[in-house]
Symmetry: C2
Subunit: 422 residues, 2 copies
């Protein structure tokens, strides 16, 4: 299509479980991120209750402000799932039983070795109008809806995350790609070991700042991402952003570890694949998070073979042969212990690169000399016979210390493996 239009979006999540804090609204960030990649800008994300008047009031107000509305939640079979009925009443559509939807519901239940109840028939009721298209839900029983009304597009999806994702991937994103265009070019520069304020100082002191672009600083668990955006004419956007990126790179090169929206685990798995390196890990304070992040990447089994969570001192000795006197004198949280964990991994596995981490995630276990947040982490390439271990101090609670430690260890490996090859 040639006549593509620039668009903005609102996302409305319906459900008491988000407002009560029981459920984190990951659906909205998934949708917003997928839209962003297409150059469709989310202007507002709203979560409201399963209540008629709230749904209608947000819908009406959003219809005035934006081109597209993405609604999730409230499509289940029970009495607190109102979305479909409220929307159809509002727009004046009647519901009709759709046998092909019912067949799909029966098939989905069969796959789970269950039989649908009478109340599931409610989910096979669908608006009887040309203005509403059925969106097939390959992962669940509730179909999605696409209203095309007054020039606005309203997409309605179930709130169950994997059902929402399959509707987005299989039905909505292909439609949007076909019919709506991007009006943005952007690149991300991911930095580490430098604060948001120092980054800003260095960049803003340059007389050309903001380099003809919009620059945003996005703090991450492992550093700060500098996002360079340009909304200008199609033939100039890329050139301007690329030139800004070049300048920023020259100013803070040694703090950069990756570009664009790639997680440390994605980057690390991809480098290990390229280099044909098999990885093995030993985790103490991170307790499996590092390996969990690695194994979230499809195909990680090519490079990740095994790992150990040696949580207790005894297990560090029993599994990795860490000397009990090292543990006794230097402590489990020390460069020496991490060094012996690496040696243990090299002896116990056939991995080409090994990594280990030990620290104090808290809330207890800190001391004056090793406060909560003290972490030693490092890695070693088998062929190099050299260990790279650093001491870190992370702030935050138990979960954020675990996250920062895992991410930092990945970033250290990424930086080293990249430097080595260039």
């Amino acid at each position: 299509m040639n006549n593509k239009k620039i668009c903005t979006a609102h996302i409305i999540s319906i459900g008491d479980e988000i407002l009560s804090g029981h459920t984190v609204n990951t659906n909205s960030s998934y949708i917003a991120s997928a839209l962003y990649e297409l150059g469709i800008f989310t202007k507002k994300i709203i979560a409201i209750a399963d209540a008629d008047n709230e749904i209608i009031s947000e819908l009406e107000s959003s219809m005035k402000q934006t081109d597209m509305i993405f609604i999730t939640g409230g499509l289940g079979p029970t009495n607190d799932d109102l979305t479909k009925n409220v929307l159809c009443r509002h727009f004046g559509f009647k519901l009709k039983f759709r046998p092909e939807v019912w067949d799909h519901i029966v098939a989905i239940f069969a796959k789970r070795n269950m039989v649908p109840d009478e109340i599931n028939k409610e989910q096979a009721m669908f608006p009887d109008s040309e203005k509403v298209m059925l969106l097939h839900n390959s992962s669940g029983t509730a179909p999605g809806m696409h209203f095309n009304f007054d020039g606005k597009h309203i997409f309605v999806m179930p709130g169950v995350p994997n059902e929402m994702r399959s509707l987005m991937k299989e039905e909505i994103l292909p439609y949007l790609k076909e019919n709506f265009s991007d009006n943005l070019y952007y690149r991300d520069i991911n930095t580490t070991d430098i604060s948001e304020s120092s980054l800003y100082s260095i960049l803003s002191k340059n007389p050309e700042f903001p380099f003809g672009c919009a620059i945003a600083f996005l703090p991450q668990g492992y550093g700060v991402t500098v996002r360079i955006k340009n909304f200008g004419a199609a033939d100039q956007r890329k050139r301007k952003v690329d030139s800004a990126l070049k300048i920023i790179k020259s100013l803070v090169n040694e703090k950069i570890f990756t570009y664009d929206m790639v997680t440390p685990q994605h980057e690390l798995v991809s480098i290990l694949k390229k280099r044909h390196l098999r990885l093995s890990a030993a985790e103490s304070c991170t307790g499996g998070l590092f390996m969990n992040n690695i194994t979230n990447i499809p195909g990680s089994s090519e490079v990740f073979t095994e790992g150990f969570v040696t949580y207790s001192n005894d297990s560090k000795f029993a599994i990795l042969n860490v000397n009990p006197s090292t543990l006794g004198i230097k402590g489990a949280v020390s460069e020496e212990t991490v060094s012996e964990m690496l040696e243990g991994l090299l002896a116990e596995t056939k991995a080409d690169i090994v990594c280990a981490v030990s620290g104090i995630a808290g809330p207890d276990g800190g001391s004056e000399f090793k406060p909560v947040g003290t972490v030693f982490a490092g890695f070693s390439l088998r062929e190099e016979k050299k260990k790279h271990i650093r001491k870190f101090f992370f702030t935050g609670d138990r979960i954020s210390i675990k996250e920062k430690a895992s991410n930092k260890l990945m970033i250290e490996m990424i930086r080293y493996l990249k430097k080595e090859t260039t």
Copy 2:
């Protein structure tokens, strides 16, 4: 205080990183959940851009609709952090340099072995009015603010999650507990192995449904939570909810594994502690997620000593002594392999209870007889010499299959250990 007031809240998150989908809005669910526990109901959660007009427009509209407004984000030192200046301009407050805030900023930087930049001085500027209280930020440089204006309370916090959490815990929640009261009593019943529609059918067929309460069905990764709420008079709320809970328990008792907002990992760690059982785990398809969830619980080191991620077939043999012919004939995803993983754990560790999981998380690796989502998981108590292994079939993508497998394994152990003791 005697004169406690019933309150509603809006949460406004400011920042492009949420709208671009780059950051998941976990801050809002943390705040909403903490408020819910106090009986303060979040009516709306909104995410908007770092833009003057958007901030003012949401603020004005929320001031009309709710008693309290919680704002996060936009308090950093850079040019895209507008919140403080916009609010102060809107309410007509002047900013003044506060030396004690600057001292705190210098101290926080020193802790991270860094020195603040000139632009950090911006963060030491604070509204000069009795209507604005400073909220001390023990984890970061940007202080929070508490506006008391036209009878409305506006709390402003940084967007960095651990800084927001420490402001909530140390400053805001104690204030709310002191001054505002609960008007709700609720209990949660967490069920598994039953669909939302079957649960609803069973419960709604009872003539007394909804048992004088409001009943909500909240789908979780591992089953469905039934929430029983009552907003009635203070002396009757608890009685009504407890009586509803008793009826629901009698109707679906064998599907219940825990009560109230407790995660499977919390419950499992707590049971293991009570029983003085040490746990060891071997993970294949979950890749460390199970152990990561366990070690997210403070004090889990008392019961969790070590574990293995045996991702490759070779490692299942090398570490846990799984017979290569079992792997060859039955496959890594089989009851027999999980059974030998359990035996390997019993032989290699001193744990009192061991658990193991092997499955196909996808997207690749599925076959006609073992499609993506097929998972075998089980556990064994050393003193029992008996193995409890089940086959599951989970839908969803790689990450949700990992989550469901890890949660289900925990729930199986919880149900068994609870049954055993009662």
